[in-house]
Amino acid sequence: MPAPRHIEHFVADFSETPLQATDKVKEDQAPLSLWAEAWRNLRKQPLFLISAFLILVVVAVSLFPGLFSGIDPTSEACQLANSDGGPTGGHPLGFTQQGCDVYARVIYGTRSSVTVGLFTTIGVLVIGGIMGALAGYYGGWVDAVLARINDIFFALPLILGAIVVMQLPMFRSNRTAWTLVLILMAFGWPQIARITRGAVIEVRNADFVTAARSLGVSKFGALMRHVMPNSLAPIIVVATISLGTFIVAESTLSFLGIGLPPSVMSWGNDIQAAQASLRSNPMPLLYPAIALSITVLSFIMLGDALRDALDPKARKR
């Protein structure tokens, strides 16, 4: 048997790795909340900057269309003499078949699209958020009942459902932006409810919720104060993306002639009207379609950027 090998006892120079106080708090950086950190990430993302800029422009246009176009786009001011006319001075995008200014109609059409998109999203957030949060948080029979209702609505496609309902006489006779919002809400909430339910289930068993409960916070209080704020991130992302979907839905329904009435200016209506002269003059169809695409795309891009910034896995522990 060989003699046990000699093992050298090595000690590093003390000055090379000076001892630090155990577990010292780093005080060199400014405090950073989740939202502040997300904002810091977003500020550097071109995707976010571009989409945010575009959305600001769209919102400004829909609030103050008069600032962007001095021309009255309503049918009364259209002159048939200009029918299908090309671009001229003061009318950069030419004229529709009815002789209306295309640029002005695109500008003034923004408001109805954005209104429908925005209010549908708000409504969907309220209904879907409440249903999803209650189902996820309380579980049991509450969950069973709400989840089945959710499934029934989820099985109905948004557009198809809206088409069927809009055909009903009571809706067909008074089509306004608000009836459209109401119907899109009715078919749009299950998606948000599903996301909310999932997010809430993930958070409700976290230790900090148990900690809050054991220091006397009520069950509902814990839902409002701890569970909901921590479930918001995925809901915001999905809501942003679905805002774009609702704008598309509005245009689709208007295009099919069962959305907004022709008297209301909207991209969908304009696209439908331009269909008639598609071969001779495709431009009046193209411009509202571009406006629609850009708006929807910027909401979807914003949603993507938010998803990256709010991803909890990307956060340092």
Binding site: H9, F10, T17, L32, L34, D207, T210, H226
Partner: protein
């Protein structure tokens, strides 16, 4: 090949080191520039030798080992120094060469048995994959042989099962089987047992020892536990902040640590400590400090001495087993014990022993199936909503996971203030004053108030959780594995803080833990639980010095490093 041959003192040509790491530097590319994870690391593993790398999380111990097998994350690279495997520099070897070496020359047992097996593959298939990749016979018999060598009973049948049908210990055996299947000359074991119960840990390590000795495999063992390292390895390498600060024969390193960091590590290793943390008042405090507890004593004399009394507690869970049917599972079975005011009682047990269920019931978050919990003379099951609210003020929890127990959306001020606000105590100004005092008590700077949990380390978060628990001036604190997730030094710091707070505020602790070493440091009384039943109770000294039950003895024996005798001035 030119091989450096060392001349030994005995004058014989030495065996060439199997693994030699010289001046190793590893750099990670991150968003904030390059970070040096490891600098000037050097270590030598001789053939058949077991070497342990010890260090806290972030010390670079795992990174060093990963570099040796060429599995650094893509943003990391060896930026200096050499890694010599059997004389060949592999620090910048190509992927092809590394694939040749992995498996049959260098094997690896990863840390987490829960996530390191593919859940959709049968165990046998995963072993077979390794054998096949290294060109070894891979029939069902060979697979079964490999698994049975790793100590898996009934291997042929087990090989046909999926990972979810295995317990944690069995999965770790399967991983060891995979790591050793090709009889490598070096086995890298990265915290192979830190996710397992102590008794299972002991079995696994014993078996690993036996196998590697038989095969003559050298082992590079990575661990955070100095006691375990010293018990299992011939040589210990201590890493701190990316550097090797001390290395040497394991026993000598423990008895005579030279570097200040090693000294600190030795003095706070829980498995080596032999007595309870001494608190300020026992070390002789000035007389004016002694006045306050004396007054408190008068008040407390009027209250019953047993602040918490648990009688015949039972909890049965219904497990669903198909439609409309359910089987009963008794998580807690006829448990009775009592807790004296101002003392610490520890409930010890392995996973599944029902200790956390007891804690949940004491916290009134779970209703017992039968039995009574009497808090301060009142049965807690008879409390109405208002009384439960008042009860919450007096009994507070501290949880295991410091990353999960603080709301990430709340800053530290709001977190600690929440209990005060919930119970409508004081004004805004007085609450802020109280939060500042609480932060002082847990030794965190007051500026921490504005920070968010994600900016703090695990130990700091745990101190915030303690401050939150203290906000309502509770009488009893339930610590559910409160220090299990922390590094040794941080753990010692938190334990000292808890002991200090107990002596100053007269707190009563119910301490739930799987770690007997921690129990010895903090508890006055111990209740040992096994499979829902209380198997032994007694004072800490009695239980440690003269355990009555076989199970308790097994638990005590399984504390790594328990048998290493240390001079009392070090421990």
């Amino acid at each position: 090949m030119n091989t450096p041959v060392e001349i030994r003192e005995e004058g014989t040509a030495a065996v060439r080191p199997l693994l030699e790491i010289r001046d190793l530097a590893i750099t990670f590319k991150t968003g904030g520039g390059d970070v040096n994870a490891v600098r000037n690391a050097h270590l030598t593993v001789m053939p058949g030798e077991t070497v342990a790398i010890v260090g806290e999380s972030g010390s670079g111990k795992s990174t060093t080992a990963l570099a040796a097998i060429g599995l650094l994350p893509t943003n990391g690279r060896v930026s200096g120094g050499q890694i010599l495997f059997d004389g060949e520099d592999i620090s910048n070897a190509g992927e092809k060469r590394m694939i040749e070496l992995r498996g049959n020359s260098i094997g690896m047992v990863p840390q987490d048995p829960m996530s390191n097996l593919n859940p959709v593959w049968k165990i046998g298939q995963q072993v077979r994959e390794t054998l096949k990749a290294n060109g070894l016979p891979d029939g069902p018999d060979d697979v079964a042989k490999v698994l049975s060598q790793a100590g898996l009973p009934d291997a042929a049948r087990r090989a046909k099962q999926y990972p979810h049908e295995f317990s944690g210990g069995m999965r770790q055996r399967a991983l060891i089987a995979i790591g050793l299947s090709c009889q490598p000359r070096l086995l890298i074991a990265d915290e192979p047992t830190s996710a397992l119960d102590v008794t299972v840990q002991r079995q696994i390590l014993d078996h690993l020892d036996k196998m590697t000795t038989e095969l003559g495999t050298a082992v590079l063992l990575i661990t955070h536990d100095l006691g375990l390292a010293a018990e299992r390895a011939d040589k210990v390498v201590v890493m701190y902040r990316g550097q090797v600060v001390e290395s040497g024969p394991s026993l000598e390193l423990l008895r005579n640590p030279q570097h200040p960091y090693t000294q600190r590590l030795v003095s706070s290793a829980p498995s080596l400590a032999s007595r309870r943390i001494q608190v300020a008042k026992e070390q002789g405090v000035e007389s004016e400090d002694l006045l306050a507890p004396a007054e408190e004593g008068l008040v407390e004399a009027a209250k019953p001495d047993e602040v918490l009394k648990i009688e015949n507690l039972r909890k049965v869970f219904k497990l669903r087993s198909g439609l409309g049917r359910s089987t009963d599972f008794t998580a807690v079975d006829d448990v009775s014990f009592s807790v004296k005011r101002g003392t610490t009682t520890a409930i010890v047990g392995e996973s599944g022993s029902g200790k956390s269920t007891v804690a949940q019931m004491v916290l009134n978050l779970l209703q017992p199936t039968s039995g009574k919990i009497v808090f301060d003379g009142v049965d807690t099951s008879t409390l109405n909503a208002k009384e439960i609210f008042a009860f919450r003020r007096r009994v507070q929890p501290i949880f295991q996971d410091p990353y999960g127990s603080l709301d990430p959306m709340y800053n530290i001020f709001r977190t600690i203030e929440e209990p005060l606000r919930t119970h409508k105590i004081g004004t805004k100004a007085s609450r802020e004053k109280k939060v500042r005092e609480l932060l002082d008590q847990v030794a965190l700077p007051q500026s921490t108030m504005q920070r968010y949990p994600n900016e703090l380390s695990g130990g700091q978060r745990q101190r915030v959780a303690i401050a939150r628990a203290l906000a309502l001036d509770p009488e009893v604190i339930i610590c559910d594995e409160a220090v299990s997730a922390l590094d040794v030094l941080v753990q010692a710091q938190v334990l000292n803080l808890l002991a200090d707070l107990q002596s100053r505020l007269g707190l009563t602790y119910l301490f739930i833990t799987h770690d007997l070493a921690v129990v010895r440091q903090i508890a006055d009384h111990v209740c040992v639980m096994e499979k829902g039943k209380l198997v032994e109770t007694g004072s800490t000294d009695d239980v440690f010095d003269a355990p009555q039950m076989e199970y308790t003895k097994a638990l005590l024996n399984a504390i790594p490093g328990a048998k290493l005798m240390l001079p009392p001035d070090v421990a």
